[in-house]
């Protein structure tokens, strides 16, 4: 399955949740933010090279706590990357590695549209503020137009009384509030997910692909991540 993690606004936590969900689903995280990459990178070929025809997408996947197809950091690389190849790259990775979580950039340009067109499902990440609804609706419309069903909505950094019902009513998809957890936010920069594979809702660690690499987080955060993973699996019919 290819899951596109998107949302109109920048800074709502798309990359953090994509990284975390990839860990929870034992999926490969693809950093599709071509101009402003977020996911950890390392040495070797990256998505810029893949989209410029210089590298094979499968070979560009890195191992680690979370398998990642990282993105280059240069503007020149972003400019040279052919975004039309992004869908095929994601499919190639999915054929070999199984599930793929694509971390989409902010906005509504083709670097969001192409992953959505290739994706089986989309997960919207939104801020629990009134103005975020409009962005979420627009992104859902784009996903719908491109045949990526909306698996669910993550209301990131939700406060004590998140407007889940309002979002659910407007967007027509399950809404999962994710608490504002510093450790979750830091996990991306540290390259350590707060969960390991949580297969079928089992406790994290049961089928983990790595040991002693996950950061700690609040129990509420872990519950939210498991719920998100469950929502994605439901959308995929598993």
């Amino acid at each position: 399955m290819i899951l596109a993690v998107c949302g109109g606004k920048g800074g709502v936590g798309k990359s953090t949740l994509a990284f975390t969900l990839a860990a929870a689903l034992d999926a490969v995280a693809v950093d599709a933010d071509l101009a402003m990459a977020d996911l950890p990178a390392g040495r070797g070929p990256d998505l810029h090279d893949v989209l410029a025809g210089r590298a094979d997408p499968v070979e560009a996947v890195r191992g680690g706590p979370v398998r990642i197809l990282p993105c280059g950091r240069t503007l020149a690389g972003a400019r040279a990357a052919d975004v039309t190849k992004l869908g095929e790259a994601a499919r190639a990775v999915a054929r070999v590695h199984g599930d793929v979580v694509v971390d989409c950039p902010a906005g509504m340009r083709a670097d969001v549209g192409v992953p959505l067109a290739a994706a089986d499902a989309a997960l919207l990440v939104a801020s629990p503020r009134p103005f975020a609804v409009g962005d979420a609706v627009r992104t859902r419309e784009l996903a719908r137009e491109l045949d990526a069903g909306l698996a669910g909505v993550a209301l990131n950094r939700a406060g004590t009384d998140p407007p889940s019902e309002a979002f659910e009513r407007v967007l027509g998809a399950p809404v999962v509030p994710v608490p504002d957890d510093d450790r979750l936010a830091r996990s991306l920069a540290e390259g350590r997910p707060v969960v390991r594979t949580c297969d079928g809702g089992a406790s994290e660690g049961a089928t983990g692909r790595s040991t002693a690499v996950e950061a700690t987080a609040d129990e509420a955060t872990l519950r939210a991540i498991r719920a998100l993973a469950g929502v994605v699996r439901d959308a995929d019919g598993r």
Partner: protein
């Protein structure tokens, strides 16, 4: 084309005609206009039947089809040879393209390919997505670039990693060090990924003035002074650019020009390459002479030590 009267290079501006190749079901009228050696063909295809039909328009001019584009992507229906599209029942469709060739005779052949299916609307292809949403890459002006393309090939043990201080400033994460300002200079050549050498290739090169001022500090991992490596890499980039433009198709040439800053740098390329060739030959002569002298010189260190 508001100023077409002044911009016309060649007559005739308008040549309406009826295409004889089309069957009785479909009729086509075309006009051509020549500007700066490029023929602009406009075409109105009429479906005379009561059912929607698929129509093929083949370019008959002696040159490549330059189709209309949105966000750099050809409009739906266009391919290298022409256009295929749907014309609704008793309706018309207007299409147009450019072709860098003389217009002699009919520019197009229009073929009726039969009734169109129920829905041959465009699927959500990546090209359609780009047309609709726009290309996401940063504009060319936003990309720090050198005057010329530099290859990312390995010119002597990590030599290609040097220089490009302006570019390095952008690489805040410092994870890719062979990425250069040209970005795609080598990708179109199909060069496979080559792992970076392990030595000294991830240093943060903050506008090293040594290279700019011709300093000859050999950095670790290279057996040539940095300034020399830098110059050779620059020359190699220009040569590679020239090679890519030699006998290139329109699409390839457009890609190269898009990467390297448009026509102006390319226009200077022949002269620059000729100068490069002269300099390289002079360097080769000088280098071989110097190498021979260096090898034949024998400093009697032991004798000198005894004298000292």
């Amino acid at each position: 084309m508001s100023s077409d009267a002044g911009a016309l290079v060649d007559s005739p501006p308008v040549e309406p005609s009826t295409d004889a190749a089309a069957g009785p079901t479909v009729d086509a009228e075309w006009t051509t206009r020549v500007l700066e050696g490029v023929t602009f063909v406009s075409l109105v295809v009429e479906n005379r039947t009561p059912v929607a039909r698929t129509v093929r328009v083949d370019n008959e001019l002696d040159g490549p089809v330059l189709p209309p584009r949105t966000a750099g992507v050809p409009e739906a229906g266009w391919d290298e040879g022409g256009y295929r599209g749907r014309v609704e029942a008793a309706d018309t469709v207007a299409v147009g393209y450019a072709c860098p060739a003389r217009a002699d005779g009919a520019p197009v052949a229009v073929v009726d390919e039969g009734p169109a299916g129920e829905d041959d609307g465009p699927a959500a292809s990546p090209e359609a997505v780009v047309r609709k949403l726009g290309r996401p890459g940063p504009p060319r002006d936003a990309v720090p670039r050198r005057a010329v393309v530099r290859p990312d090939g390995d010119s002597g043990g990590g030599g290609a990693d040097e220089g490009g201080g302006d570019q390095r400033a952008v690489e805040s994460q410092g994870v890719r060090c062979v990425e250069d300002a040209s970005g795609a200079s080598a990708d179109a050549t199909g060069r496979p990924w080559e792992p970076e050498p392990d030595t000294a290739d991830c240093e943060v090169d903050t506008d090293d003035s040594g290279a700019a001022t011709g300093g000859a500090d050999a950095s670790p991992g290279g057996d040539l002074p940095r300034a020399v490596r830098q110059w050779l890499a620059d020359v190699e980039g220009r040569v590679e650019q020239g090679e890519r433009l030699t006998g290139a198709s329109v699409a390839e040439a457009a890609a190269v020009l898009s990467e390297t800053g448009g026509l102006d740098p390319a226009a200077e390329l022949p002269e620059t390459l000729a100068a490069d060739a002269r300099a390289l030959r002079a360097l080769a002569r000088r280098a071989s002479v110097l190498a021979a002298r260096a090898e034949s010189a024998s400093v009697p260190v032991e004798s000198l030590r005894r004298l000292a």
